[in-house]
């Protein structure tokens, strides 16, 4: 009996210690670019790509929601679910297109954990590089704009995607840049531009 007690206690202590050690080591070997964001930490780790809602609730459509769901990574070292909020592009792009090909597969990722707002007691992740576990070559996580083009073949005109996106254009036409109606926009622009 004594032996079982000792073993279980030791296992518990080791598990907690392992989590603390790995939490401190995610920046080791990371090649991620840095930007001075809030609470920014380089982080390279391995884990399984998951549909977050499926992971939490058991509501699991095929192929992690086929690009319509927020995706995350269950980190292998500590089983923590990390929300992936951003890819490596600089045009307001999320990461679902970059992660989707790896749905329910094990990957290595390199990027940044960010955030220190008291309203969220964990950091979210910006994925910059990704590869299937076991592969040697990294892929840059920058698929979003090409995927947007294929989803919006009729979004013509000049300028970046966010000036031409049909849903954004429609919304701004309806409620203005400030969201308070075209009249408020007009007054503010006249006074400030």
């Amino acid at each position: 009996m004594k032996r079982i007690v000792v073993l279980l206690t030791a296992a518990s202590c080791l598990a907690v210690s392992a989590a603390i050690v790995t939490a401190e080591d995610f920046s080791k070997d990371s090649k991620a670019g840095t930007f001075g964001l809030s609470g920014e930490q380089k982080a390279m780790f391995s884990g399984k790509v998951v549909d977050i809602l499926c992971e939490l609730s058991g509501d699991c459509p095929a192929n992690c929601g086929d690009g319509k769901r927020n995706l995350g990574i269950v980190r292998a070292s500590d089983n923590k679910l990390v929300m992936v909020s951003k890819n490596a592009q600089f045009e307001f792009n999320g990461a679902a297109d970059d992660l989707l090909a790896y749905c329910n597969k094990s990957v290595d990722v390199d990027g940044l954990l960010i955030g220190e707002d008291p309203g969220v007691k964990a950091k979210v992740y910006m994925v910059q590089l990704i590869r299937l576990s076991g592969e040697t070559e990294w892929k840059k996580a920058e698929l979003w704009t090409e995927a947007w083009k294929s989803r919006n073949p009729n979004a013509t005109g000049e300028g970046p995607w966010y000036r031409r996106d049909p849903r954004v254009v429609k919304q701004i036409e309806k409620e203005g840049y400030l969201g308070l109606g075209p009249k408020v926009d007009k007054k503010w622009i006249a006074e400030n531009q």
Partner: protein, 157 residues
Amino acid sequence: MKSLRLAMAGFAAGLLLLGGPSGQVAAAAGAETVEIKGEIIDTWCYLSGVMGGPDAVVGSAHHTCALWCAAGGIPVGVRAEDGTVYMVLKIEGEDPLAPSDTILELQSDSIVARGQHYVRDGVNYLVVANVVSNDGITNRNHEDFGVVPDFAIPEKK
């Protein structure tokens, strides 16, 4: 026997600190139905500080950027009155990255949302069953901050 129970409890506590032995076990903890009053926000700009402090990247000042980020597939959240941020995983039956107007229509609005609340590893998640009330954009902070980023409204040519 008492020692064994204590040791097993300690072991279980250790596993919980690790986030649970598996996602399935964590999911089994279940959700609670909640009603959250707050503002729909773009979580990346809010948490990263990339565009400025938290008071500048919400409301009317940041509305256009919030539309860009939502259309760009960045997670949308609800910032409750107490400052807690809830990541929206579904809204009125729609997946958040679905190519519809639902999320964009609500962006920056002050709402009361009813739905299922999950917590895992420090992050609050919300499956919004329905928007109980919507006061529109009440945070007119463009009067203090202008537009964020400053190129949100294109210059006239």
